[in-house]
Symmetry: C2
Subunit: 520 residues, 2 copies
């Protein structure tokens, strides 16, 4: 998207384009203000006539499967991120495409990781036109520097499902790396050397893509049970030597923090939830994968034990701490979107109360409700928050793309959204007059917990009332900002180029904000 594009001011005051990568888009209208019209995307009708009667869809190489799938210029190719930094398949797809001379592909991952940095060469040589999905690490810098041919499109996990379901993104070929599969294409993430727990991020891809390729290093006899991905959606199955690098699948961010600062944030957050009456018998919570969030789970567990209560459900990302809570019956169900460690994988495989979910069940805003809005409390991170509680999760204050949105936007619909954040990072204040990139409207963000005090969104008079005599250091967000500014000084406003390198979609498919090329 280069300068010529028309910009309009959207409902949250950001200048956004009305066209992205040649397609018309709708500016953000406010929370709950955009009502979708029309019908869900209808994939081409298949017929059993075109598939082997014996169910055997095995193809000898990924290259052959891609050729049979009709790989050609301009196609949209999707992959999922359940292997996290241990993914090896996305790179192979574009190596093959490059070798075949295919150009201008759109890569539509459910997230990208540092392991995907080698794709930069395919962005440079024109194999990949642009990425719709998270651009972080080296891909983020590449994009932020304006080097990507097209405009990046950032969506939440739920927004990605919505975009596929609604036909905003038409996936030509979905490549689904699977720890275990049968020849028919039934696949799961609970068995095999590269076990990653589940495959929910590839659900939309399997349902709606024109061609679906399952890639696995562990072919089992039909039926592969459970079939988290259903073979009835699958065109080809490819057996490879290694579908993912197991040691890199288990994320490094799943240890509880040892940092006293972070532990303090976690404790304050848990105490706030207790004071606000959120921690009660049958409550539900979701905490992210970061060290602070994990630690909050530990505090919740202690509180529940002390009170003789249990939570009805917790939403994963799951890890050994959450699995412990399940096994100690401090939580009745884990509704899991991705497993972060092998305890999570084992639990999901063996415990019927550890349930496989997907962005459809949990996050899709264009469904008949979703799980996210039922959560009593969700604890999330942010890179910046502004005095109106708007928050940023994709860029730092220097404007460089460094995170994806993940389920973050979707989770904001919980009954209480809390962001435990340090008041400053590397002497850069986290609370700003304006965030660099708005990822979440302030009206959905209820509480900011910092090491120097807790700010409650003025809209939440109920929470203010409940916690006023709690002894917790409740302050206004302006007070918190002033404290940070006093210590760090007011940061100079970052300069950006006019060029838009990426857009941030809201959960309903509208454009919430843009990311601009970082200045010289």
């Amino acid at each position: 998207m280069k300068k010529s594009s028309t910009l309009v001011k959207n409902a949250i005051g950001r200048e956004v384009p009305t066209e992205v990568n040649g397609k018309a888009v709708i500016p953000y209208k406010g929370v709950g203000q955009h009502k979708p019209e029309g019908r869900k995307y209808g994939p081409r009708i298949s017929s059993c006539v075109d598939f082997p009667e014996d169910g055997n869809k095995l193809i000898s190489t990924l290259k052959e499967a891609l050729i049979k799938s009709g790989l050609r210029d301009g196609m949209t190719i999707s992959t999922h991120h359940h292997f996290r930094n241990g993914d090896v398949i996305a790179i192979q797809v574009f190596e093959i495409a490059a070798a075949l001379g295919v150009k201008n592909l759109v890569w539509f991952p459910s997230a990208s990781f540092e392991c995907h940095a080698p794709l930069i060469k395919y962005l440079e040589d024109g194999t990949i036109h642009h990425i719709e999905g998270s651009m972080n690490g080296q891909l983020g810098r590449f994009t932020s520097e304006g080097k990507m041919k097209g405009v990046g499109v950032l969506r939440s996990h739920g927004g990605r499902y919505q975009a596929v379901q609604d036909g905003e993104v038409e996936i030509d070929i979905a490549v689904i790396a699977a720890p275990t599969a049968d020849f028919f294409g039934n696949a799961n993430g609970v068995e095999g050397a590269a076990a990653c727990g589940l495959l929910g991020f590839a659900l939309a891809d399997s349902q709606y893509a024109d061609k679906v390729i399952v890639v696995t290093d562990n072919v089992v006899p039909f039926p592969c049970v459970p079939w988290q991905i259903q073979g009835n959606y699958v065109d080809y199955v490819v057996k490879v030597e290694q579908v993912g690098i197991p040691s890199k699948i288990v994320s490094g961010t799943t240890e509880i923090t040892k940092s006293p600062d972070r532990l303090f944030l976690a404790e304050m957050t848990a105490r706030f939830c207790e004071a606000a009456g959120i921690v009660c018998d049958g409550f539900s919570f979701q905490a992210g994968a970061g060290g602070t969030s994990l630690s909050i789970g530990i505090y919740f567990a202690e509180m529940l034990k002390a009170k003789g209560m249990r939570a009805r459900f917790a939403r994963g990302g799951s890890n050994k701490y959450l699995v412990n809570m399940l096994e100690e019956e401090l939580v009745e169900y884990i509704l899991d979107g991705q497993t972060f460690d092998l305890d999570g994988v084992r639990s999901m495989r063996d415990n019927p109360r550890h349930v496989n979910t997907s962005p459809f069940t949990s996050y899709n805003y264009h469904g008949k409700g979703n799980f996210a809005s039922m959560l009593d409390v969700v604890i999330l991170g942010a890179t910046e928050v502004d005095v109106n509680f708007n928050a940023n999760v994709v860029t730092h204050s220097d404007g460089v793309l460094l995170h994806g949105i993940g389920g973050w936007q979707n989770c904001l619909f919980a009954k209480c959204t809390i962001l435990p954040i340090p008041l400053f990072r590397d002497r850069i204040p986290v609370i700003r007059d304006e965030v660099t990139t708005i990822c979440g409207p302030g009206e959905l963000i209820d509480v900011i917990v910092t090491e120097r005090g807790i700010a409650i969104n003025p809209l939440r008079t109920d929470l203010i009332e409940k916690t006023k005599n709690s002894g917790l250091p409740i302050k206004s967000i302006q007070e918190l900002k002033a404290e940070a500014d006093k210590i760090c000084g007011i940061p100079a406003k970052q300069k950006f180029d006019d060029i838009i390198v990426a857009v941030v979609k809201w959960v309903d498919g509208t454009v919430l904000d843009v990311v601009r090329k970082v200045g010289p």
Copy 2:
């Protein structure tokens, strides 16, 4: 469909209409000859804005839910048959519609039972225009006598999924009776007083209907796990006193036969499978719910035990005999479409190797393959077979509709299809020159087992070769027919009216045959 409609001769030689109930239809073109074009049906896009944030979709009465769903003249209303003869909800739906003065509804059940006979009054008074689904018992006679306003449409379970998926049937309101549900609409059949095992026959309805109502007598706190029906597809949840009559849910057809004739058929069938090399380690089979079919399972179990082998999977309808095989590890997996008794329900609830399937996974011909064609052998019933191996399953020789198609057509795609049938019933020969109604093309029917001999379809030279020295009484189908005719005499040809009262669809949505009004 009255006489004026244009008839054309289809690929199997039957005169079929090109329009049914005012909609154009495609005459049958031969097995695998019709290639679908176009795209799957796209239901209206929903938004969380229109659903309660706390997930609570409870509505106090079915009437209110139907009104909120916009019930009005001409709509298509679907129900499922997992409660079999214990269903009480379908009747209530049309009682409410009649009381509201709504007319010309289409009832689209996944099957009907004797308990649905009270719907005749709503067919008479114009509340219901016609039924698309099985018409048997009193409904069958009513239809056969030409009393239904519209033309009945008979589809297989897979054909029903196909029709919904492809948009041939647009369901306005799906009413899904569920033994257990949460307020969000997640529902299952494994818990609750009316436990019926699973809800797979309502899957298409949940996915594609404009409005979806879950009715239950057992509301559990969110999350209802497993969610065989996903709340994200559900508009309203209604709590009623009783959702089904438990004693009538468990079918009476699930005891092994005590009839010596039927036991003999079962034994011959099992011996044929053994002689043909079908019963081997890792094989797969499906037998229906009737007494003969059940008995075949018992013979298979004995053979496997004797050989120290086990089957890889069996397809259900499940019952205590199949569950025994699973528990004795004579079969590794049950892939179940409906549970016929409480042992089936218990096993599905507790045993991860007893797997919930649906017409989508098992039978949909417009998918990327399905399970049915992977079966090594399927054993089915029939009311008539002709000398070309064409078979009938919906009418008797007097032309009266008395069965639905169920999964029968879909199962014909197995690697070997065997029909164990008596040579005559009540002195009426079962093997005919021409069947009254063609439900399955002879090219898909491999073996007819009768008490006086076994006929192998001449197309199956492999089976003929394998069994020629088996000592089994292999005969030609003409020989079998001659024997029956000698005993019973050649029956007079049944006279039919010109009026078409129902059509029989093939698995690809084309019209295979018609059912005509029975003559005076």
